[in-house]
């Protein structure tokens, strides 16, 4: 068995390699990049037996067509519904399918959302640059030569975890999926420069409807809507731009700063979209509406931790799914009446040989 190797027959609109992000170098001006919808990336990686922050393909609106040239493995698509198919047959999102040489993976009509994650067993294997495989196109770093996929590219995966075969057919239950209501308000933690805005300005921001403009990309989403009033100048001494920061330059229209944002900037920031809703915004398209409401820090942290609990639950379900399958590697505990046995359990890349025995006391 060898790792999956794909050839790119058509690259799609914007398909890039993304992982958990390039952390640790923002102090030197290097943006974090990484998946825009981090929860979908992590869930997808769990499904196919990878470590949660392994690299996958982030597919934007119109997906690529890939052909398996070598190897075998499992894949799953999470995030946006972009009509994923294998050999022309529809494959639902959040479901693990097995693929091998000659299989053609493609996407069709974009139905809901903006970004899907094509996760493959073993993760996408490109050179690690500054601790990450994420593509940051503006500095031509990471991914495939620092750019989006193009026709004729070869995309290789790493060696899959020992139990990858057992992942086949595994699906993420609906309540654990990261599916975002496109109408739901985005929750914002006020600050760091909310004191630079008038009360009227803050009321405008939290009380109005904004629309995602055509300038909405991995760097940030510019929104169109009522002008937010500053107390004085819109410029500050340049400081760090956190993920989800809502910058309001002099023109008074908000810009939400996302994965590929520059590390520092000199505009006032009225608030910061909470982590969970950054993914929700990343799945919206130009023309869709955005509303904001406040949330406090404790509330936002609780939301993040709830996402973590969902992933833990999916890990538990995966362990159960992979443990009860009878294909020679594991002896079934479901059928028959064995009194002892053993099986291999791969948890995030580490393999455990589990022995069990029925005891009578």
């Amino acid at each position: 068995m060898s790792a999956l190797v794909f050839s790119v027959s058509s690259p799609g609109m914007l398909t890039t390699v993304q992982d958990g992000g390039r952390w640790g170098f923002q102090g030197k001006g290097m943006p974090v990049a990484g998946a825009m919808d981090m929860q979908s990336l992590k869930l997808g990686n769990i499904l196919v037996g990878n470590a949660q922050e392994d690299a996958a393909l982030e597919v934007t609106i119109l997906g690529p067509t890939l052909r398996v040239e070598e190897g075998e493995g499992v894949v799953a698509v999470t995030g946006a519904e972009l009509s994923f198919t294998v050999n022309g047959a529809a494959v639902p999102n959040w479901t693990v399918v097995r693929v091998g040489v000659g299989d053609v993976l493609a996407f069709g009509a974009p139905l809901t959302g903006c970004r899907a994650y094509l996760c493959a067993s073993g993760g996408i294997d490109v050179p690690v640059v500054m601790g990450s495989r994420s593509t940051y196109t503006r500095a031509k770093v990471g991914g495939l030569e620092g750019r989006a996929l193009k026709k004729g590219d070869t995309v290789r995966c790493g060696a899959p975890g020992a139990l990858w075969r057992q992942c086949e057919g595994f699906a993420c239950p609906g309540e654990l999926r990261s599916v975002y209501d496109p109408e739901a308000p985005l929750r914002v933690i006020p600050g760091p420069q909310d004191d630079c805005f008038t009360e009227a300005g803050k009321e405008t921001f939290y009380g109005s409807e904004y629309v995602v403009s055509n300038s909405a990309d991995r760097m940030g989403y510019r929104l169109d809507g009522p002008v937010i009033e500053h107390v004085g100048a819109a410029d500050i001494i340049s400081d760090a731009i956190p993920l989800g920061a809502v910058q309001v330059p002099g023109h008074g229209q908000p810009i939400v700063m996302l994965a590929d944002r520059q590390t520092t900037g000199g505009y006032t920031k009225i608030g910061t979209v909470c982590s969970v809703d950054i993914a929700a915004l990343s799945q919206r398209l130009p023309g869709q509406k955005v509303r904001f409401e406040t949330i406090d820090l404790d509330g936002a942290v609780a939301l993040v931790r709830n996402e973590g609990k969902k992933r833990e639950e999916l890990l538990r379900l995966r362990a159960r799914w992979r443990s009860v399958r009878d294909d020679g590697l594991c002896r079934s505990v479901r059928g028959g009446t064995p009194t002892k046995g053993e099986f291999l359990l791969g948890v995030d890349g580490a393999n455990h040989r589990i022995s069990w025995e029925e005891v009578h006391e």
Binding site: W23, G24, F25, Q26, G27, K28, G29, M30, P31, V32, V129, M130, R138, A139, K140, V141, I189, P190, G191, P192, Q193, I237, S238, D239, A240, P242, L243, G244, A245, Q262, T263, T264, G265, K269, T272, V273, C274, S275, L297, D298, A300, V301, L303, V304, R305, E307, G308
Partner: protein, 248 residues
């Protein structure tokens, strides 16, 4: 330190907190930023992801899933009160930036000479004579915000920014001077270019310059430019970094 407004702790989302030491660009405030960063690096907390020192504040990124947020805020508050201005007694580290001035690589040198009413040689002399202090990095990977340029070299930015400025371009914009670390658009006036790679993702470290270091421009000729460029392409160029003790 009579100002009781600072340091202040600013919430910047659920994964970042900013400690602000003032509202000015000066080395004392920037020194406190550096001190706090050093204190956190010395005993990092569980969940710490990144530190971003800027002119007058430090952004501390953390993973909200694993960080004890309340404790982290309290600890930052305590550490920030203790953060001194640093520098004194420490080593002054200066990176030498070999620069080929004028000509093809410095297309705005003539304009700068005209604006400043100095000869081109005098522009070069003044630009290389004073070391510049690196307050912070940002904007693009490896781009430094430098302070301390000779005020006589101040020139207005271009009315029409260039769409693409080659990496290594040495430029002046207003009261500031800088080095474009990657090819990017920009409105500063180009007076030269360094063959040294300010950012090289294949090198370790990819970015040599750090906040708190000093930058010294050194004029070079075409032959040395070509030599350094060739060494850089092979990953063999070692930048010159001077260390000297500072007596308070």
């Amino acid at each position: 330190m009579s100002d009781t407004t600072y340091p202040r702790i600013l919430t910047a989302g659920d994964g970042c907190v900013v400690v602000e030491f003032g509202d000015t660009i000066d080395m004392a405030v920037n020194g406190r930023v550096a001190s706090l960063a050093a204190a956190i690096r010395k005993t990092p907390f569980v969940g710490l992801r990144d530190l971003v020192p800027t002119y007058r504040s430090l952004a501390v990124y953390f993973d909200p899933e694993t960080t004890n947020v309340e404790k982290t805020y309290a600890r930052l508050e305590a550490l920030s009160r203790d953060a001194g201005e640093g520098q004194a007694g420490g080593a002054k580290r200066t990176i030498v930036v070999p620069t080929l001035y004028g000509g093809e690589f410095g297309p705005d040198m003539g304009d700068v000479a005209e604006h400043t009413k100095l000869s081109e040689d005098e522009v070069i002399r003044r630009h290389t004579e004073r070391d510049c202090y690196c307050y912070m990095l940002g904007f693009t990977p490896g781009y430094s915000y430098l302070g301390g340029m000779d005020p006589a070299l101040e020139v207005p930015r271009l009315k029409n920014p260039r769409e693409i400025i080659p990496a290594g371009s040495v430029a002046i914009g207003g009261k500031q001077t800088g080095i474009y670390s990657i090819a990017s658009p920009g409105g500063w006036r180009l007076i030269g270019r360094t063959p040294m790679r300010m950012f090289d993702p294949g090198r370790d470290p990819a970015i040599i310059l750090e906040a708190g270091m000093w930058v010294r421009f050194r004029p070079i000729g075409q032959a040395e430019f070509d030599e350094i460029e060739a060494e850089g392409a092979k990953g063999a160029y070692r930048p010159e970094i001077l260390e000297e003790e500072v007596t308070a």
